[in-house]
Symmetry: C2
């Protein structure tokens, strides 16, 4: 990217995450061109000054940097390789996929982009819709270092903990490590709280003892209280977590790495989704343990 103006940004996917991210880009003075499958979801951003484009290609051909955050790896593949972002984007432009998606797909996209003189980064995030809204996302970036450096101001408009993790795919691999860590830990949180309740303890009092020591974790502090209060409203959807664990497990298998904890978590969450909890928050895993609560 050699531009003498502030780069013009394209943003494809203005869902829960995209809403906050585009708002922060606009607030930082960027011109942002947006596209979303459901146009109505982009309206609040258009009111704030974003420019609507009718197709992903139309976004890509009008901007210096095309950012995508869509649902599933299939959507990523479609928008880059079928809907033709890579056909429409100008030589010398940059594409950044911020969807949590397959590391191997990120490598393929980067390779396809390279052949057309386009630079590609994979830059998935963590921090949820709250982090997106507040510009406090953690952003894990894969791709060429100089492209990462060029895009750093853009990332800084959306996030706080921004780390270049390595070549194409490294951002996605890092996000997978993040989700793998969460997967087994969620089982630990559920089993600890279920044990406490089953033993007749007061779970809030148990948390006083165990939250701040060697058992402490973000999930224990933030999700266990929701479990106790039967609050299963989604911060992060069960169905999306299953998507991530599926990508992670496939990727681990391709690398020849056995991850029995991840396999167990994926199985438990799939059973949970089959029982109709796909749209609940990930803390709903506790329901699988609650079922055992009144039987001996």
């Amino acid at each position: 990217m050699t531009v003498d103006h502030q780069p013009i940004i394209g943003f494809i996917g203005t869902g829960v995450m995209g809403q906050g991210m585009v708002s922060n880009l606009l607030q930082n003075g960027y011109q942002v061109n947006v596209y979303n499958r459901t146009r109505s979801k982009a309206e609040p951003l258009i009111e704030k000054g974003a420019i609507w484009r009718d197709t992903p290609q139309e976004v890509a051909e009008n901007v210096d940097v095309t950012i995508t955050i869509v649902g599933y790896p299939d959507d990523v593949e479609a928008v880059y390789l079928e809907d033709g972002i890579l056909d429409a984007a100008a030589e010398g432009s940059i594409v950044i996929d911020m969807t949590t998606s397959s590391p191997q797909l990120a490598e393929s996209i980067a390779e396809a982009a390279r052949k057309k003189g386009i630079a590609a980064l994979d830059a998935p995030v963590s921090g949820g819709d709250v982090g997106a809204r507040n510009g406090k996302l953690s952003i894990m970036v894969g791709g060429d270092a100089e492209v990462y450096e060029a895009c750093l101001p853009i990332f800084q408009a959306m996030g706080e903990n921004i780390v270049h993790q390595g070549p194409a795919g490294a951002g996605q691999h890092t996000k997978m490590a993040n989700q793998i860590k969460i997967a087994s830990n969620m089982i630990g949180v559920c089993e600890a709280m279920a044990y406490a309740e089953k033993a007749g303890l007061d779970p809030d009092t148990v948390l006083q003892s165990i939250s701040s020591g060697a058992a402490g974790s973000w999930s224990l502090s933030n999700l266990a209280p929701k479990m106790i209060n039967n609050d299963y409203a989604p911060g992060f959807y069960v169905k999306h977590f299953i998507k991530d664990m599926t990508i992670a497990l496939n990727s681990a298998e391709k690398m020849g790495l056995l991850t029995p904890g991840l396999s167990l978590a994926k199985r438990l969450y799939e059973e949970l989704a089959e029982s109709g909890e796909g749209d609940s928050g990930t803390q709903a895993l506790y329901k699988k343990y609650k079922e055992q609560m009144h039987t001996v």
Copy 2:
């Protein structure tokens, strides 16, 4: 306990934990009578003013409050019910077991004590030898509320986060919940770091991205760096963690609670111990994943 003097304390078990705990009791002005199976380990405490007694009974018959922290539930059972602490302790005195032990055994001891007019607390700790030395243990207490209140100054000499969790056994149940949480989380830490290394990422850089967000935990921040540096020195021994997980799993099974994550962790750690790692720190679980690192 109705005493008009500062209670005289007995302390049975002056191992790594007991050393720090007795030192802090002495520093807080308590007279402490000590017994340990291996007398030499008590010498540093005798030099600091502790009074040596030749048997557990001799400790118990000379004090107002007998504290025990020994190895395994079998040791607890032996010292209370066979070596006869409960025979030797005076009516109106208090016994406190601070070993991580079986909740059901704690209930039995409390019941046996009650019949002799002795009050019993179960008060396992977390925080390790460092916490014991610095007087910063987390202490989880089960037993009668008024006995807990009477012993609070004693606990405060040894710990910081001191919580009364309920009736006899509740302290042990809380410690089990703590260990159950750690068990699955350790799998998550290992699998996340193994995935990162297998994917060719720099694990320290990955930790920069994932330590402070939703994947964050005490174990990730404190043990993952040791895994990366092949530092398997024991903070907490594999063999002791297996002991705790065995108690927890037995207890969960007695209550009719399925804990597949705990079962998996126990199995993995048992395999690890069978390969000769019982005296390593719990972070040595990473070795089971490292084995896969150079094969595809």
